[in-house]
């Protein structure tokens, strides 16, 4: 039994029962999966979740690449397209996500099911913002890049949290949130005041280090 089959069965079970299976043993028996097959691919249900969220990212990326002008789009358009597509992919699997995604504070340790998604997403965000970074003072720009990447990740989590509670038709309110929060982000990134402060920071940094 392949990894893909196990994932399918796992998601089907969650969607029909509304909860994570109680044990690996039980899950394997009920779905006719050899335990060796399961353990060859995954060591826990959490590991399946982690893979699924990574697959959401990969599927999003494939869809985006198919839509012609994505690679040449402006940073803001790129990020917008990513979000809209990502949440479409999630919407297709909404019952699963509602069960798997940690919504309570005591489940915060479950956030690590996003670990693989996070790695890929940070790289993507770094790439998107690369045009907003110039490299005259590498140390400072590295901090800036890190800030953008982490900030964007925090934004994704924030929108994800909103989406989970969003009961509007077609999750329209999430679309509005994406539109408005990205506009705000890029207005901030492009704002002259921020650039001036960066410029001042660069000067002071240079003076302090030379």
């Amino acid at each position: 039994m392949s990894q893909e089959d196990i994932i399918d069965k796992y998601m089907e079970e969650i969607e029909s029962t509304g909860k994570v299976p109680s044990s690996i043993d039980e899950f394997c028996i009920e779905n006719g999966i050899e335990k060796e097959d399961f353990h060859r691919e995954f060591d826990s249900f959490k590991a399946i979740d982690r893979t699924i969220f990574l697959l959401f990212y990969i599927q999003t990326n494939q869809l985006l690449e198919k839509s012609g002008n994505f690679s040449v789009a402006e940073p803001k358009e790129k990020l917008l397209s990513f979000y809209f597509t990502f949440f479409e992919v999630l919407a297709a699997n909404r019952p699963y996500v509602l069960v798997a995604f940690p919504t309570e504070i005591n489940e915060i340790n479950r956030l690590d099911i996003l670990a693989d998604l996070r790695k890929r997403f940070l790289a993507f965000a770094g790439d998107v913002f690369s045009s907003k970074i110039n490299s005259d003072i590498p140390q400072l720009e590295k901090i800036k890049a890190k800030t953008y990447e982490e900030g964007t990740w925090a934004q994704l989590l924030f929108i994800l949290n909103f989406w989970i509670r969003d009961n509007s038709e077609g999750n329209e309110k999430t679309d509005i949130l994406i539109e408005k929060s990205l506009k705000a982000t890029f207005d901030l990134v492009d704002i002259t005041a921020l650039k001036s402060i960066m410029d001042l920071g660069k000067f002071l940094y240079k003076e302090a280090t030379t």
């Binding site: 839509s67 803001k76 358009e77 917008l80 397209s81 809209f84 479409e88 509007s168 077609g170 329209e172 309110k173 679309d175 509005i176 994406i178 539109e179 990205l182 506009k183």
Partner: protein, 411 residues
């Protein structure tokens, strides 16, 4: 607040500045709101003769403060509506919107050799109407000194109309209905609408070549009169023939093409004129009744301008106010020919407006009066008058009557 502050330091404060300061206050509280509050601001800005000019400038800014939809959201909106991207649905689709309306934006597209205008609504507009209006309400109640629970009816009327405007399928149906009913009126053109490329949030129609009425510069009086007459006939036919009227005579909703035809677009806001309003309203408008105090009084009660709980002073004040207002506003309706280029007429309206805007007497009285139907019917007349004034058109007032016999039923 600003009034007293500024007045203390500068007792000679000129009125324009005072108005400006107040208008800015009101505008600042309105501009934070989107969508329907914008529409409400637009409604106020239509009545430009009734509001001192400083208000008008601020309120018309309101139309430009919604950020356009991003390209990716436009794509997503189409995907959700039709399961296809705009590029698959049309032969060409321009991603840059050509202009923004208060609740949507317009893209140029083409299909099967036809050039099309595709209007896309901002998401969430329909949802936010109720909450936006709740925010405007206290401001409006204070501005117009409305007392009593039944002032709710005005807000309900606006809310209903605004909600209707967010339903593009309703707009499509209304457009088809009007196009059919008015096809025999000369020099009047309408775009075709495409159901298969429309839904409640997306409206596809023919791209109409022409200049917006606000930018149209007639080369001669004859040309101005021709456009003005078409506009007049169109509106009077709707009022009296259909008893249902395009209640948004905004210059952005009309184009003039190079054959001198008037093109009407945007039928989002239609007002049905109920019989029990139509009767007394146009009776009031009839010059003969000004001298007949009893008839005038009867109509004022029927139109809810006078209230049971009015004091004697209020009855006297409002009877006089409305007689002088009506005599003035209905002057064009009671003439054979009317010159809307007549500056004196519009100055008179403005002077009357200023007089009552400043009236401390009026401010003390309950402003919650008048049938709710006044809102959109008055807006329609104000809009029509100011469009005709901008054109400086001379109108043959009763020319529309020849089209009344031919009322095409909607198909």
């Amino acid at each position: 607040m600003k009034y007293y502050g500024e007045k203390m330091v500068n007792p000679d404060l000129d009125k324009e500045k005072l108005n400006q300061a107040n208008a800015e206050d009101i505008y600042d509280s309105l501009k934070e709101l989107k969508g329907s509050a914008l529409k409400a601001a637009q409604m106020l800005s239509m009545e430009k003769n009734f509001l001192p000019s400083a208000y008008v400038e601020k309120f018309s800014l309101a139309q430009f403060s919604v950020p356009p939809l991003s390209g990716p959201l436009v794509q997503k909106t189409f995907l959700k509506a039709f399961g296809k991207f705009p590029a698959e649905l049309f032969d060409t689709f321009n991603e840059e919107s050509v202009n923004a309306a208060s609740i949507g934006q317009v893209h140029k597209a083409s299909k099967d050799g036809k050039t099309l205008a595709v209007k896309i609504q901002y998401p969430g507009v329909a949802d936010s109407i109720g909450s936006d209006l709740a925010l405007v309400k206290p401001i409006a109640m204070k501005m117009f000194n409305m007392k009593g629970a039944d002032s709710e009816r005005y807000f309900q009327e606006v809310e209903t109309k605004l909600k209707e405007e967010t339903d593009y399928l309703l707009e499509l149906a209304q457009s088809k209905e009007i196009t059919q009913a008015c096809k025999h009126i000369p020099n009047l053109k309408f775009p075709n609408y495409y159901e298969e490329l429309s839904n409640d949030r997306i409206l596809t129609m023919d791209w109409m070549d022409g200049v917006h009425l606000s930018q149209f510069k007639p080369t001669s009086q004859v040309e101005a009169d021709k456009i003005g007459q078409s506009l007049w006939n169109f509106y009077m036919f709707q009022m009296h023939g259909l008893k249902k009227v395009h209640a948004d005579p905004h210059p952005g909703n009309f184009l003039v093409n190079n054959e001198g035809n008037l093109i009407a677009i945007d039928f989002g806001c239609m007002k049905i004129i109920p019989e029990d309003f139509y009767g007394p309203y146009f009776e009031l408008a009839n010059a003969a009744n000004f001298s007949n105090k009893d008839a005038l009084n009867k109509a004022l009660w029927e139109l809810e301008i006078l209230r049971e709980d009015d004091s004697e002073a209020e009855i006297k004040f409002f009877s006089e106010l409305f007689s002088s207002m009506l005599e003035l506003f209905t002057r064009p309706l009671n003439a054979e020919n009317f010159d809307f280029g007549d500056v004196a007429f519009f100055n008179e309206i403005a002077a009357l407006g200023e007089k009552y805007a400043k009236s401390s007497e009026l401010r003390k009285m309950n402003g919650n009066r008048g049938s709710k139907h006044f809102l959109y019917i008055n807006r329609t007349f104000f809009g029509l008058y100011s469009l005709l004034h901008d054109l400086k058109a001379k109108i043959e007032v009763n020319a529309f009557k020849q089209y009344l016999n031919e009322v095409h039923q909607p198909v």
